[in-house]
């Protein structure tokens, strides 16, 4: 018996050990047709509206498109949520979609998958976060298909690159002139024009208006000096209150929001990126400029005077705003998140927003945001016809008018359709139901907040906002989060901030040699900069030696000029591509 048990145990252990080795997790191919029949939706042609012409679906009859994605389609939406929409796309185009979904560690699974035979790879892959380095590697390895080769069958994509977003075309044009990835979603603001994303979350300082008024500050501060006076007064009157919560575990980064007061270009997309192009198109490294010293001097003064707090996590900051222990901060949507809790502790307490501060002698500049979300790539599997079909599918699903509307409002015919002249016609009751979450997303695949590439025509957001406003007004039990004063305040602040936007600094595709140099040199440059900036703010390094201890080291020991020259070269190319 003992021998038998011993043998059994050993066999189980050995088999168990191998169980994870050879069994590549077979994706569970799902076709959109698997969606419940009750979700069947008429095409616009079926509902007799006669608007079917505006759909312009390509004929992909008999084609099978294999699509590899994460199972979380975009934030807050799973693949099953969007399946109804893709079922309709299948019906309209005649193609069959085979889904290959990955539940975790998507980038690693994708990289492993792409090492195999290209003919066995999916036709379309979600490239994960649009990281230029990774995409470069895929392109260099010949994995991705050049999208520009199929311009003749992808009019909407062509329009997107050439007319709507030449800036993005400039960014994503590879060094060989091809374009190899298609943005799946973008959150950005370009040259002061907000497109598809609310600015509220990104660029506002908030403060306790009730306390400010109590201390005699009737209106919001607009300059660095006014902020200093206000925070000092708060610190004196309420020593236990945190005057400004601005730091988190990423160190000094939050303090960078004040660089905009010194004419420096705070990069809202990436607070750790210091490169930007000035008004003359010259690439600069922000920390090495004299204005940085002024900003650091001010921040150090604030820190020494106990006006800013170091070392609190995001949760702690929100918690402090909600329980009334902090006076001000730089954080999105504090009104919505904390107002209610604050009222329970202090019924008179309320928040207002203030614009990014300025300072004498400098013009306020605030770099636009260009957060590239996921990208799609077409696998170059040697089958030209299949690659073109895959691109036609993406062109229709995401870049056509139908794609743009259905991304947000779900299947056509449920709550929206094309009007007689091709305009969007929305059923108010349907949008109301969406707002009140009465129609579950799975039923129609609607994702009203989706910021897909469709941001190029953000009229749908406007449409939604207008309708939402009307519905909210008509709902007797609806309690708006913001009071009228706060709404008016926000609109005012938003206008000031938006006017200060300047062009964002793009990301670049580089040659392998240049990328190598950048990777090697920027590692030390970033470490040194991070360390020194924090030391200057905390006062552990002397700002009197800013030039010799910091700027000179950047140029003499860390090859800053070489890095700037490389960035300049690619920025010039970007401008050419984008023009």
């Amino acid at each position: 018996m003992k021998k038998f048990l011993c043998l059994l145990l050993a066999i189980v252990m050995i088999v168990g050990m191998f169980s994870a080795c050879g069994s590549e997790e077979e994706p569970t191919p799902t076709t959109a047709a698997a969606v419940a029949e009750t979700n069947a939706t008429p095409t616009s042609g079926d509902d007799g509206s006669g608007a079917v012409d505006y759909v312009n679906a390509p004929d992909l009859s008999g084609k099978t498109i294999k699509l590899m994605t994460t199972d979380t389609w975009v934030a807050g939406l799973t693949l099953s949520d969007v399946l109804p929409r893709f079922k309709q796309i299948e019906e309209l185009t005649g193609c069959t979609i085979i889904w290959e979904t990955v539940t975790s560690d998507y980038e690693t699974v994708l990289a492993t998958r792409l090492t195999g035979d290209p003919s066995e790879c999916p036709d379309i892959v979600l490239l994960g976060n649009t990281d230029m380095n990774t995409i470069s590697k895929y392109v260099e390895d010949g994995l991705l298909y050049d999208i520009t080769k199929a311009y003749d069958v992808t009019p909407n994509i062509q329009k997107f690159w050439e007319e709507d977003r030449p800036d993005l075309k400039g960014t994503f044009t590879y060094t060989d002139g091809g374009i190899y990835n298609l943005l799946a979603n973008v959150h950005d603001t370009v040259d002061g024009q907000a497109k598809g994303v609310a600015l509220k979350g990104d660029n506002a300082l908030w403060y306790r208006a009730d306390i400010a008024q109590e201390l005699g500050f009737e209106t919001y501060p607009t300059t660095i000096n006014e902020w200093y006076e206000l925070l000092t007064a708060v610190h004196e009157a309420y020593p236990d209150m945190v005057p400004m919560h601005m730091w988190d575990w990423t160190g000094w980064e939050s303090a960078r929001v004040f660089t905009s007061a010194y004419g420096l270009h705070y990069n809202n997309e990436c607070s750790t990126s210091f490169f930007y192009a000035d008004e003359n198109g010259i690439v600069q490294y922000e920390p090495a400029l004299e204005a940085s010293k002024e900003w650091l001097t001010e921040m150090n003064k604030w820190y020494e005077d106990g006006l800013i707090v170091v070392g609190d996590s995001e949760e702690q900051k929100i918690g402090a705003a909600a329980n009334g222990t902090t006076f001000s901060g730089f954080y999105s949507g504090v009104t919505g998140m904390c107002e209610e809790s604050l009222k329970e502790i202090d019924p008179d307490g309320y928040f207002l927003y203030a614009p990014m501060p300025t300072t004498e002698g400098y013009e306020l500049t605030y770099m636009g945001r260009a957060a590239y979300g996921n990208s799609f790539g077409i696998i170059n599997n040697g089958d030209e016809e299949q690659c073109r079909a895959a691109l036609q599918f993406l062109d229709f699903a995401f870049f056509s008018d139908y794609g743009k509307y259905s991304e947000k409002l779900g299947v056509m015919g449920e709550g929206w359709s094309f009007g007689e002249n091709g305009e969007l016609v929305v059923d108010e009751a349907y949008v109301e139901a969406l707002i009140k979450n009465e129609i579950v997303l799975q039923a129609t695949g609607a994702n009203i907040h989706f910021n897909g590439p469709t941001i190029s025509s953000f009229e749908i957001d406007q449409e939604y906002s207008e309708i939402a406003k009307l519905i909210q007004e008509a709902m007797p039990d609806y309690e708006p989060v913001m009071s009228e004063e706060q709404e008016a305040n926000w609109e005012e602040i938003n206008a000031i901030n938006t006017a200060a936007y300047c062009s964002y600094f793009p990301k670049f595709f580089m040659s392998a040699e240049d990328q190598d140099v950048i990777n090697t040199l920027t590692a030390d440059l970033t470490t040194f900069t991070d360390e020194m900036l924090e030391k200057y703010i905390l006062g552990t390094a002397d700002l009197a030696n800013f030039q010799t201890e910091f700027v000179d080291v950047l140029y003499n020991n860390l090859n800053l000029q070489q890095i700037l020259d490389i960035y300049q070269k690619y920025y010039n190319t970007y401008l050419e591509n984008a023009s």
Partner: protein
Amino acid sequence: MKAIMKREKPKETRPMSPLRKGIRRDWQLILIGLPAVLCIFIFSYIPMGGVLYAFQDVSLRRTFWSNDWVGFKWFQQFFSSIYAGRVIKNTLILNFWMLLAGTTVEILLALTFNEVRNGKYKKFTQSCTYFPNFISTTVVVGMMINMLNPNTGVLSLLFQNVFGMEKIDLFAEPNAFRPMYVISAIWQGAGWGSIIYLGSINSIDQTLYEAAAIDGAGRLGRIRYITLPGMKSVIVICLIMHIGSMMSMGAGKILLMYSPSTYETADVISTFVYRQGLSSANYGYGAAVDLFNSACNLILLLVANWVAKKVSDVSMF
């Protein structure tokens, strides 16, 4: 008659080789050990071929042999960094403190448990020291951040209000990083780490203690002359193994704990490589630094083993 004939002509059998004999005799033990041997072979020996990536420009689409060979490029890249010396120094210092403080506390804990006579109390306290080992590092660091928050942290407020200390953010203080790292690691792992020492104590012959008691040895005497010498071989082996990983330091906990203001003392090889590797997805670079670490670890292990052999006659090989 037939029986007699058989005895006269015995069947010739070849003598069994010692190997076959051993297999026949110990096949159950061999079978039990087989999964572990296979595991080490598959997951530790076969991947060793991957060290060659340290000399290649790794590409996902190319095969292992068709990658471009780049010689010592990645090693040069690592050592050309102005921070190479600092991260190596920090790794060694942090490991030294972990070795010194960690091992000492584990041994002391094992000795203490061994001296507890009340069985229930002993089991309870042992369990209490083992529990932190099952808390994830992320949670432990989260607890530290909350407890040491200069404005709201329980410990910070205690230090300020009871001991009159200045309000200080320990997570932004370079000099506080190492003690915080080591103390939290001891809290989390000392109980679990003491098990091996406790095991070695349990294997000591009890009659030795009885004889020592008759000879008048007190508790400390018994620990000094019986327990510690009895644990010597395990302590030395653990020490050698720990020294053999002096150049390795996991990045996870440090990444959660450090910030630019503490890079000075907290940035170690693994975090440095993480920052650099993440920006460039450079597998060759990571492999090169790992190879360098492993080579240093091997040398340290051989030296430690040689010294241990000379000094105490106990060694791994």
